[in-house]
């Protein structure tokens, strides 16, 4: 399976150079547009699972090439890799969930300011605070946090 990097190299934001959009992608991109308009209007988020749609690998490649790559990319190591990048269309993210064998579990277009998987939830924040406190205490911090 080709990697996202090979499909849509970073910095490929020149939509003028793209070939015409294949028919099956047009309604999908209208859904993206609708979701993006909603995000702008009221902050509502949306997700589309490309892996579950009847799109073959070529159409997915064409879609990813069409939306291009923006400035942000991240890799998460949790139960196998998850690769995230913002497309050239700000607010449209590509989230590629893989298992430990690098097999694709899901491929989402996430229309959000930040994809959910990149955000840190409150429980994890509290665990982080505890860990830092324990580290400071263990290092003999002369003024431990109360």
């Amino acid at each position: 399976m080709p990697t996202l990097e090979s499909i849509a190299p970073a910095g490929d934001t020149d939509t003028d150079a793209l070939p015409p959009l294949p028919g099956p992608l047009v309604p999908l991109l209208h859904e993206v547009r609708h979701a993006l308009a909603r995000l702008v209007a009221d902050g509502g988020e949306h997700r589309i699972d490309l892996h579950a749609l009847p799109l073959d690998a070529t159409l997915i490649d064409q879609l990813l090439a069409f939306i291009g790559r923006g400035e942000v990319e991240a890799r998460i190591e949790a139960m196998g890799p998850t690769r995230v990048h913002e497309s050239a269309i700000a607010g449209v993210w590509v989230v590629d969930y893989r298992d430990a064998d690098d097999q694709r579990l899901a491929l989402h277009l996430e229309i959000a300011t930040v994809p959910q998987i990149l955000r840190t939830d409150r429980a994890t924040l509290s665990a982080g605070l505890q860990r830092l406190d324990a580290g400071l205490a263990g290092a003999g911090d002369p003024s431990p946090p109360s």
């Binding site: 997700r47 579950a52 998460i76 949790a78 139960m79 998850t82 430990a100 097999q103 579990l105 998987i117």
Partner: protein, 365 residues
């Protein structure tokens, strides 16, 4: 591990982070063909889900179905879901044996009456067959099945033997093998057929149950549509060759080397509903048609008697579909009804179940 733990707590104890959990939810939604907009709801439900008690009964089977589930590469989604259930009874996997094992089954039935799931692999010699063909602790498979499902919330028939009778039921069906749905008529039943079934189909149904507290949408054979909604032929990567009339005529001819369609070598893909072409096998490595072998139709009723594995299909295999489809009217709704009935669970199961005697065996053989 405490049975009272929620799934989220349990995953955390296994070292799965919040992000790993979200990925688990995304994969579950994708697996079950659920819209990704449901992911927050799936996450919320799974956060709070308690481990359901599962009693796994093995009858006339080869243990291939258990192998399919447990031999998957770790750490996987399958592994996590399998860990997420409280497997209270399973011949092959449980540590207890003999009377202690049977006691564990009865205990789980009492403790979780109306709420436990029964997973069955293997076919069952019917009530009219010699009970000695297959016994557990001296009791016929039929007696054990009927006793165990009585207060179950639902029954999941895993593998073609439990779903449709499978190989033990092949003509002339010497043991009088029957499918679960021919014997159990008052419970919700899911059939996850395949010889063996795709592990993701087994865990997908469990994940759906964990999330929504009910079984997923089923086809006419009670198979989950998310995995059995399309034929092998619909999703086969050799399909363009079929459409152009390019067929391998033998296993070593030029067509076979070129990867052409295996229809004339007996491929049952056009009449077989399963997810091999999309889920693949062995951690996604490959699947039978990619390895150059025709589909045998292993997830369909009577695949063993379908006229020869290497004979091209011209008509669908002869199946007594009406008998199977009519075998059990839709089961009772999950939950309330069964829970209510379970309150009246007073009889001692062991007293009402007759062991198979040597005299009985000799008389019927």
């Amino acid at each position: 591990m405490a049975a009272s733990q929620t799934l989220a707590e349990q995953l955390r104890a296994q070292g799965v982070s919040r992000r790993g959990f979200l990925k688990f939810c995304a994969a579950t939604a994708s697996l079950m063909a659920l819209p990704p907009s449901l992911i927050p709801r799936i996450a919320e439900a799974l956060e709070a889900a308690r481990r359901p008690s599962v009693i796994w009964l093995s009858f006339q089977e080869c243990t291939g179905c258990t192998e399919s589930l447990t031999r998957s590469h770790a750490p996987t989604l399958e592994g996590l879901i399998f860990e997420a259930i409280s497997l209270d009874y399973h011949h092959t996997l449980q540590a207890a044996s003999g009377e202690a094992a049977e006691a564990a089954r009865l205990q789980a039935m009492r403790d979780n009456a109306g709420a436990y799931l029964v997973v069955v692999d293997g076919s069952i010699p019917g009530p009219e067959a010699n009970p000695g063909y297959s016994t557990v602790a001296g009791h016929s498979n039929h007696a054990i099945l009927m006793e165990t499902v009585e207060h179950a919330a639902a029954v999941i028939a895993v593998g073609t033997c439990a779903a449709f009778g499978g190989l033990p039921r092949a003509a002339p069906n010497p043991t009088g093998a029957r499918a679960v749905m021919e014997l159990v008529h008052d419970k919700p039943i899911v059939n996850i057929s395949g010889c063996p079934p795709i592990p993701m189909a087994i865990t997908g149904v469990l994940a759906h149950y964990l999330t929504f507290g009910r079984l997923p949408e089923l086809d006419a054979y009670r198979r989950p549509l998310a995995f059995f909604g399309e034929s092998i032929h619909d999703r086969c990567y050799r399909r363009p060759f079929y459409d152009r009339g390019l067929f391998a005529e033998s296993f070593d001819d030029e067509g076979a080397r070129q990867g052409w369609c295996l229809y004339r070598l007996g491929c049952k893909g056009p009449t077989t509903y399963n997810a091999c072409a999309t889920q693949r096998w062995n951690g996604g490595t490959s699947w039978p048609i990619e390895a150059g072998h025709p589909c045998l139709g292993c997830s369909e009723p009577a695949f063993w008697d379908a006229g020869g594995f290497y004979r091209a299909v011209s008509v669908p295999p002869r199946v007594n579909a009406a008998a199977l489809l009519g075998a059990g009217a839709a089961g009772a709704a999950l939950g309330a009804g069964t829970a209510l009935a379970a309150r009246h669970l007073t009889r001692d199961e062991q007293q009402h179940r007759e062991p198979v005697t040597v005299e009985e065996l000799e008389k019927k053989l």
